[in-house]
Each structure stands twice: as C-alpha cells, then as structure tokens.
C-alpha cells in the first residue's frame, strides 16, 4: 500500500507560486472529474486553500504514478504548460508515515499560519468529502483522512491550542488594522465574499463591537445569508466600488482568478474619501487586490504573506502547547501507518498460509493415495504432523514480518512476495 503527497504551502512557496497552483472550486471539480480517466488505479484527494495546494495520493498496490505524469496532469488542469517544468522544484514530496504525519499536522492546524485556527479542519474535511463524491478515494485515503479527523479532534481536546479562538482575520485585524485605526467600533467595514474566511472575519468584527458592516458577494443570496447572522448590510456586487467611499476597512476573501479591485478602482474614489486612510486586507490566493494599489497614498494593503511575522508571534504565544500537539500527531501517524501495513501484511500472511496449506493438502493426498493401507488414526496423526510442520515452518517468518511492521515494513513485505511467489 502506498500513501504520498505532493504539495506546497505558505512555509515553502511565495504567494506568486501559490497563486499559480491554487485551484478554485470549479477547478477542483474538473481535476477530480478527470483524475480516474488518467490514473484509474490511484486514489487522490486535492486540498486547495489560500495557503496550500496539496495532492494526497493512495494506492492499494505497490506503485504510484510517475511524478512527471502527475506534474503534466496538474499543468494541464491549470492550463499553464510552464508549471510542468516548475513543479519538480516547487513541490514537496513525502510518503508513508511522513505524509500521514504532515496531513494530521495540517488538519490539527499545526502547519497553519495561525496556530490553532479552526477553519483548516473543515477545509480538509470538505476536500475529502469532495474527493469521495467524485470517487477518487479508496481504502488508503479513506483510512488516512478518517484517521486525520480523529487526530485533529484529539489535539483539540488534549491540548490548549484551541482554547481561545484565533483565526487569520483576527490576527490580521488585531495586528495591522489596530496599528492604523484607534478603534474599529466607529469604522465601516466592507467584506467582499461570503465564504468561510469572510464568515470568520464577520464573526471576529462583530465580536469586536464593529457596528457598520457591509457585505457584497457575487451571489447575493449567499451574502444575505451570511449578513443575516451578524446584522450586516448587503449590497450588490456591482456597488462595491461606490461602497469604497464610506469604507475604512475592506476585507476580501473571494475565490477568483483575477483581482476584484484594481488601482484605478481605488484611485477614482480617493477624492471622495477626503484623505481618510483605507485599510485593505486580502485573505485570498490568488490575491483579490491588484498589487499596484499599495502605491496609493493613504491606502494600506495587506495580503497573506504579510501576516507571517504576526503569525509567528501568535505561534510563540501558543508554543507551550505545540510539543504536546506534535507528539499526538506523530503517535497517530505512526499508528495509522502501522495499521495500514498490518492490514497489508495480514492479507499477505493469509495468502502465505493458504499457499502452504494447499501444498500440504496436495502432498497429503498424494501420500495417502500411495499408502492405501494406513489406518484412519495413522492418517490423522500424519495430517496433524504435516499441519504442525507447516505452522512451525511459517512461525518464524510470520513473526519477523509482524515485527518488521514497526520498523521498515516495505522491505520484508516485498521480499516475502518475491521469495514465496505470492499472488
């Protein structure tokens, strides 16, 4: 059995590269739709969030597709031929227990920008369910993702990482917006988007006492649904430009491939703002705001990459819980991998026993045919002796196989298959 991952995230790739590899929801659908046609024997779960794009692969057999084929497939799905050449250097690879440990750490938010943020777990869950719907999952990925949800739950219960609710919006607003504004209570906030990050932003702002919140989304009904929970005003998507006149803080979290606000859009509104500073927070990848906006006077733009330093401070403040959480994740990953290998080796042991017992039976039949004058009691004694011999002969190798699961299982398992020509 094989379990592996190819991926990149905010820790090892700049935002430009993450933008190139990010999949929007429809892109994920297409990716998973086409996967079985291209790689019928390989399970796949694609996790694409603002900070990471990771492809988890599983196989009940001993092989996974050639990396080159996977890179070509990703490049073709992204419609970016140049990606195929860039991915070997950009993507990180892990397999086995290491890949499982990474997945479990991601789901437990140990790899998140903001340690202890809860959104990542639901994003992982959604990615898994999405893959299951598209039937790209199988025995290996089912086991891995179900085990990762259990591991994340254990981390949440047994450590203090999730004790105080933190999120990317909360860190961004508290670290940057409050460096600009004296108070947010009298400020108008425009939230663009109605996804999970937008909801998290609204929740944080509402808890912080922000009274004037305006929500705009391409699908108005979703904006209304979200705004209703927080008493926010809803405007049409096209009215977002006019709303800039009264907004002090704009938070965008839309899954789009092109910027939703350009430099010209903001520049035309500056006169009406009469020098009031404008705080723009871009929580999406690909970025929602044109990078050139940052050059405008009195406009302060922040994207996810800018939050690293602030998140590092958050990480330090929660670092006391980190070793405990990492220990749990490591133990869960080792257990998961052991269980998976045990399942594989059990099947192999069963096949080995069957093979030897079939041989024993055929030899006994041949012997009894030659020795017709044996009494029933003698036949039974011989049968028992043959059975005992088979069991004793197999005992040592099977014990070694079981012991080996905890160390390097693949070597001995493969050796067994080849030595005994198991099918």
């Amino acid at each position: 059995m094989k379990f592996a991952l190819w991926g990149l995230n905010h820790q090892n790739a700049p935002v430009d590269l993450r933008e190139r590899l990010a999949f929007d929801p429809s892109g994920v659908e297409r990716f998973l739709d086409n996967w079985p046609g291209r790689f019928p024997d390989t399970e796949a779960v694609l996790v694409s969030t603002c900070n990471r794009t990771e492809l988890y692969l599983g196989s009940p057999g001993d092989t996974l597709p050639d990396p080159g084929d996977i890179f070509d497939y990703i490049a073709a799905e992204k419609g970016d031929a140049a990606l195929s050449g860039d991915l070997p250097q950009a993507l990180v690879y892990a397999e086995g227990a290491e890949a499982a440990e990474h997945l479990f750490a991601v789901a437990s938010s140990l790899e998140s920008m903001v340690l202890g943020e809860p959104q990542i777990l639901s994003q992982i869950k959604d990615s898994y369910l999405n893959a299951a719907e598209h039937q790209t999952t199988g025995v290996v990925t089912h086991s891995a993702f179900q085990r990762c949800l259990a591991a994340a739950k254990r981390v949440a219960v047994q450590t203090g990482l999730f004790r105080h609710r933190v999120s990317i919006p909360s860190v961004a607003v508290s670290d940057f917006a409050l460096e600009l504004f004296d108070s947010l209570a009298d400020k108008t906030t425009l939230v663009l988007g109605a996804g999970e990050m937008a909801a998290e932003t609204l929740r944080y702002l509402a808890d912080g006492g922000v009274k004037k919140i305006v929500v705009a989304n391409r699908t108005r009904s979703r904006a209304e649904e979200l705004a209703g929970d927080f008493g926010a005003e809803v405007i049409d998507w096209e009215d977002r430009f006019a709303a800039l006149d009264r907004a002090d803080l704009v938070v965008a979290a839309c899954a789009v491939t092109e910027p939703i606000l350009s430099r010209a859009d903001i520049q035309t509104r500056l006169a009406a703002r009469r020098g009031r500073p404008l705080f723009l927070l871009d929580l999406a990848v690909p970025r929602n705001f044109d990078a050139a906006i940052a050059q405008l006077e009195n406009v302060y733009v922040y994207c996810l990459d800018d939050l690293n330093a602030a998140c590092e401070r958050n990480r330090k403040s929660r670092s006391a819980e980190l070793p405990k959480a990492k220990k749990i994740v490591h133990a869960e990953a080792v257990d998961f991998w052991r269980d998976l290998r045990l399942r594989e080796s059990s099947d192999l042991i069963s096949r080995l026993r069957t093979q030897w017992h079939e041989t024993k039976e055929s030899e006994l039949t041949r012997l009894f045919n030659k020795c017709q004058d044996l009494s029933e009691q003698q036949r039974q004694e011989i049968q028992i002796a043959f059975g005992r011999f088979v069991n004793k002969a197999l005992h040592a190798p099977i014990a070694s196989l079981r012991d080996e699961i905890d160390t390097r299982p693949s070597t001995l398992l493969e050796a067994f298959v080849r030595l005994f020509r198991l099918k």
Partner: protein, 286 residues
C-alpha cells in the same frame, strides 16, 4: 525643606525613568513600565516643588529669566512624558521627551536667572508672552515626537514584514494628536508674538527688544512656517497629516536651533549667567 530640593533630584529621576523605559523595550514586561512611571512621577513631583519654591521666593522674576523659562519648559516636557505614557501605553514619548527635558534643565543651568524686563508696567502682557511661548515650545516638541512617530508608523504600515522594536500608537491617533498639537502650538506662538510686540510698543523705542533679535525673527518665521503647513495641509487632504508632520518636525528643529543660538549668542531676551553677575545660588539652577 523645599529649599533642599535641587535639580539633581529630578534629573536623577528622569535619567532612571529613561533607563527603565529603554529596558521596557527589550523585556516588554509591565513591571518595568510601572517602575518607570513611578520614578518619573516622583521626578515630576520634585520638580513641581522646586518650581513652586523658586516662584514664591522670586515671583515673576523667576519665570521671566532665561533659567526660569528653561526650567518651566523642562517641567512641561516631563509632565507631558508622564501623561502621554499613562494615556498611551503603546508609545515611546518617554524615550524622547525626557532627554529633551533634561537638555532644557542643563541649558537653563547655564543661563542667567535675572529677569529680562524688570519693568512691572506690562506684567500681564509679560506673563502672557512667557506662558504662551513656553506652551508653544512644549507643544512643538511633543509635535516633533508625534510627527516622527507618525512618519515612522506610516512607513512601518507599508512594510509589515519589518521588525518592530518601538511600539507606536495607532496612526489615526498620532495624526489627531499631531494636528491638535501643531494647531495649538501655532496659536500660542501667535499670541506670544503679539504680546511681545505690544510689550515693545508700551516700553517705547529706547527699551524695546530690537526687531532683528534672533528670538523675535525666529519666532515669527516659525509662526509663518507652522501656519503655512496647516493651511497647505487643508488644501490637499490626501497628504494633510503628513504635511503637518513635516512642517512640525521642521518647526521643532528650527526652534531647537533658535533656542541654542539664543542661549549662547547674546539675544536681547537672554544672556548667559556669567554676564549678569547674579549668583546662581539665589534663584538659578544649581
């Protein structure tokens, strides 16, 4: 008992508070901040008693002297440092205002403590002149620090990945403080200048301070600069606070140069201690 308080008491307090404020930057522990505030408060209290004692022993003569004026300015700066450090915990006013306060004390110690204008006819005008100019200088120094913090904070907000050693208040608050301090500084400067001109008029041509005096020219130029900065800021609001910040910083630097030059270059307003022949033990800074 009050006579026992001398400049060493409060300069030592200010120096210790300054050291504690620097320690706060690296430890970020509230305990050090509380110590710094307590020590500073003790220094301000000592200096208040010192000024009270000298004013009552010498009356107007004390604040009308160069030594008295600098002592008053130093006290105002220390008081501002204390007040701003309490109301704006995320600020570094103490780090900048206390050295300015101590510098004022040292400059004042080298200045004459005899009154500039012994005439008593224009007493009210003289008090207005001195108080308004002291207040204006004080606000300009606060404006200087606020303006520098504003520009630094603006720069820092544009470069979020940079390390932040010095804590600053929010940009919005700094802008508001800067506008207020500069507007009031400009207003007080205008009042002080008008009071000065009126005093000159009442004294007559013989006893008048010449219009070419360094402090008269400097204060007038400063008033024009600050007023211009405020007016220009109003015309283009997109960079208004930044313009006020630059105007205020320039103004405060010009003021510092004028004060230094006036203290050492025989202004008709002030003259060094050695020239007046009055012993410092009576009323000057030890």
């Amino acid at each position: 008992m009050l006579g026992g308080i001398n400049a060493v008491c409060f300069v030592a307090s200010y120096a210790l508070a300054l050291i504690l404020a620097v320690i706060c930057l690296f430890t970020r522990r509230n305990l050090w901040r509380v110590f710094a505030l307590v020590v500073l408060a003790a220094g301000v209290a000592a200096q208040t008693l010192f000024l009270y004692h000298h004013y009552f022993s010498r009356g107007d003569q004390f604040i009308d002297s160069a030594a008295g004026w600098f002592a008053l300015l130093a006290w105002g700066l220390a008081l501002c440092a204390l007040w701003l450090s309490i109301t704006l915990p995320k600020s570094v006013y103490m780090l900048f205002l206390l050295p300015a306060s101590m510098a004022s004390i040292f400059i004042g110690a080298g200045m004459s403590d005899s009154a500039v204008s012994p005439d008593t006819a224009a007493r009210t005008l003289r008090l207005i002149h001195i108080t308004a100019l002291s207040g204006s200088a004080l606000l300009l120094f606060v404006g200087l620090i606020t303006g520098l913090m504003y520009i630094a904070q603006q720069r820092r907000l544009r470069r979020p990945k940079q390390n932040r050693l010095l804590p600053f208040p929010p940009l919005e608050r700094l802008g508001r403080m800067l506008n207020r301090s500069t507007t009031f500084a400009s207003g007080l400067l205008g009042i002080g200048i008008v009071a000065g001109y009126l005093m000159n008029y009442l004294r007559g041509a013989d006893a008048a301070v010449p219009m070419t005096d360094l402090l008269v020219l400097g204060a007038s130029a400063l008033f024009i600069l600050l007023t211009a900065a405020l007016v220009i800021a109003r015309t283009n609001r997109s960079r208004s606070v930044r313009r006020v910040a630059i105007g205020t910083i320039l103004g405060a630097l010009i003021l510092a140069v004028i004060l230094m030059a006036a203290a050492w270059n025989h202004s008709a307003h002030w003259h060094p201690k050695a020239e007046d022949g009055v012993s410092s033990s009576e009323g000057g800074m030890p």
